[in-house]
Amino acid sequence: MTAVLSTRGLSWRIGEVAIVDGVDLDLAPGEFLGVIGPNGAGKTSLFNLITGVRRPTAGQVLLHGREITDLPPHRRARRGLGRTFQASSVFGSLSVRENVRLAVQAQRGGSLRLWRRAAADREVVAAADAVLERVGLAHRAAAQAGTLAHGEKRKLEIALLLAGEPTVMLLDEPMAGVSAEDVPELVAVIRSLTGDTGRSVLMVEHHMDVILELADRIAVMHHGALLACDTPQTVMANAVVQEAYLGEEL
């Protein structure tokens, strides 16, 4: 099988505690894999290991069949691995448009260009504006990113991710704090991330409705380990998931 992203026995321990515990995960091309699990299960930590923000204490990460366990974050990104952060992290002092331009530019190749006028790079500008349009932030393009309201920052996060044109995308709770009115819009944006393009998505989300709507399969994490990884129906029927994660319906 040709998984675009796999982890093999991926573990991260701090002292005695296993935060991430021997996770084996395969993401197929074009697949949308939802990740759920109680707070503190290790979902964000797993993302950190995959993207290289943290170094695993054991195990491997493979991207397109090649090992990337020891690469720094930026090298992984250049191989097509993109992510968003759970806590919004955008470039606060730059304008929204500049934020996206920076991401587009990073995608176009990171060679040093000290003498070119950035603003004059039409293609980059056009690409950036297209991305902003797509996530519905075009009207805020001139605003300073640091002053955006929370939901807008989430959108900008996704815009930054999109601009990088990754083949594998890791989304960490993209819906957190997004107003009810905007949820469908954002869901649509995220859905369009995969669709026909063949990109694969790994998404952590606590909004079950969103997960159920988007995910092809759902992985459940619990105490750092992978509890289950199966179709939404099977997972939702799982008693442990019911008990430890979903609880009773509101």
Partner: protein, 366 residues
């Protein structure tokens, strides 16, 4: 300091206001200012209180040249501090490398000036690249301290007069035999002035060009969130090193010209105080603004030089001793002025124009 050089400031910051009659001229103001500054030495204008002699007197031109060099140095330092968010406490080292490099190569090794200058410049840039490569493995205050430590080693080496090269605390006067005659002697001060002006123009051009370039945008990104830059697929380390090296090279270049201007090197310039002053200059002017650091640097040096005269002036002497004592200490006045500036011009002098614009708008609305 001439108001000519201050003039371009509004062009940089007051963009949002309604289009002005002169708006079309805006892009040209820097060039206009440059041209005016270039012909300034032909003026015999007397500005009593501002300068001791007419504008074209060697003393005034010398002071102006010093101001220009430090304006440029501050602009170069701002590339690091204001635009990339790297707080280096060791920038003086690269400036000193330019000064001492030139001086030693001309005076001790007997090289002609242009060779010495070129070597000092490359040497300064290489030094910055090497030390930067090490220091940038740390971040934040640790980075500031490593750079401070490196600069401190530089200061110790200079003070220890290694191999009799640097002259220790007495400094090393430049042997003018190796220097073209046009740069020697008080009557030729004007040539040094023009040289300093050219250097300032170059630095400002480079800094602006670089910060408007794709790389400049990455630097701004690093300032905000370095981890994010990595995840976008760019290596922050590499970009920081570029900024560090470039900034160091610009400082070394300034050192070459300063060495010519002052006619030698003295260990004052290796002190961490110089880096601190650079920081002060940038903040005084307004970090990451177009003209702020330049203005800050020029103003600081102007005050630094003029305050010694002010301190010994008769106006100060006539005051009661509670006042005249402190006021006769230039550093006291400078420190106080600086503290006040931090309070009353947050965002630096460059921020002042925006604030004035807001004020004007508020008034016109009434």
């Amino acid at each position: 300091m001439t108001d000519l050089d201050v003039a371009p400031a509004p062009a940089a910051t007051a963009a949002p206001a309604r289009p002005h009659r002169w708006a079309a001229l805006r892009p040209w103001t820097p060039l206009l200012a440059l041209a005016l500054a270039a012909v300034l030495p032909y003026s015999t204008l007397q500005l009593p209180g501002v300068f001791d002699g007419p504008v074209n007197s060697p003393g005034t031109l010398h002071l102006l040249a010093v101001c220009l060099i430090f304006g440029a140095l501050a602009a170069g330092y701002d590339l690091l501090f204001g635009r990339t968010g790297l707080l280096s406490f060791g920038h003086a080292l690269y400036f000193a490398a330019g000064v001492y490099g030139t001086d030693i190569l001309v005076t001790r090794a007997g090289l002609p000036l242009w060779q010495a200058a070129l070597l000092a410049l490359t040497g300064g840039a290489t030094l910055a690249a090497l030390l930067g490569a090490v220091a940038l493995r740390t971040a934040g205050i640790a980075f500031a301290m490593v750079t401070l430590a490196f600069a401190q080693v530089g200061a110790i080496l200079v003070a220890r007069d290694f191999g009799g090269l640097t002259g220790g605390e007495e400094g090393l006067p430049l042997d003018v035999a190796g220097v073209p005659a046009v740069f020697v002697g008080v009557t030729n001060t004007v040539n040094l002035y023009w040289l300093a002006l050219a250097y300032l123009a170059l630095v400002v051009f480079v800094v602006h060009r670089v910060s408007a370039s794709p790389t400049g945008r990455v630097l701004a990104g690093i300032r905000d969130d370095e981890r994010r830059i990595g995840v976008l697929g760019l290596d922050p380390y590499r970009f920081k090193l570029v900024a560090f090296t470039l900034s160091g090279a610009l400082a070394a270049g300034g050192g070459v010209i300063y060495c010519l201007l002052v006619g030698g090197a003295s260990p004052h310039i290796t002190s961490s105080e110089l880096t601190l002053s650079l920081l002060v200059m940038v903040v005084l002017g307004g970090p990451a603004t177009r003209w702020g650091p330049v203005i800050g640097g020029m103003l600081y040096m102007y005050l630094d030089h003029r305050l010694t005269a002010f301190g010994s002036s008769s106006t100060v002497d006539a005051l009661p001793s509670v006042l005249s004592g402190p006021l006769s200490q230039p550093l006291f006045v400078l420190g106080t002025v600086f503290i006040l500036a931090v309070y009353f011009f947050p965002g630096g002098l460059a921020g002042l124009t925006t604030r004035l614009a807001t004020l004007r708008r508020a008034l016109s609305r009434r």
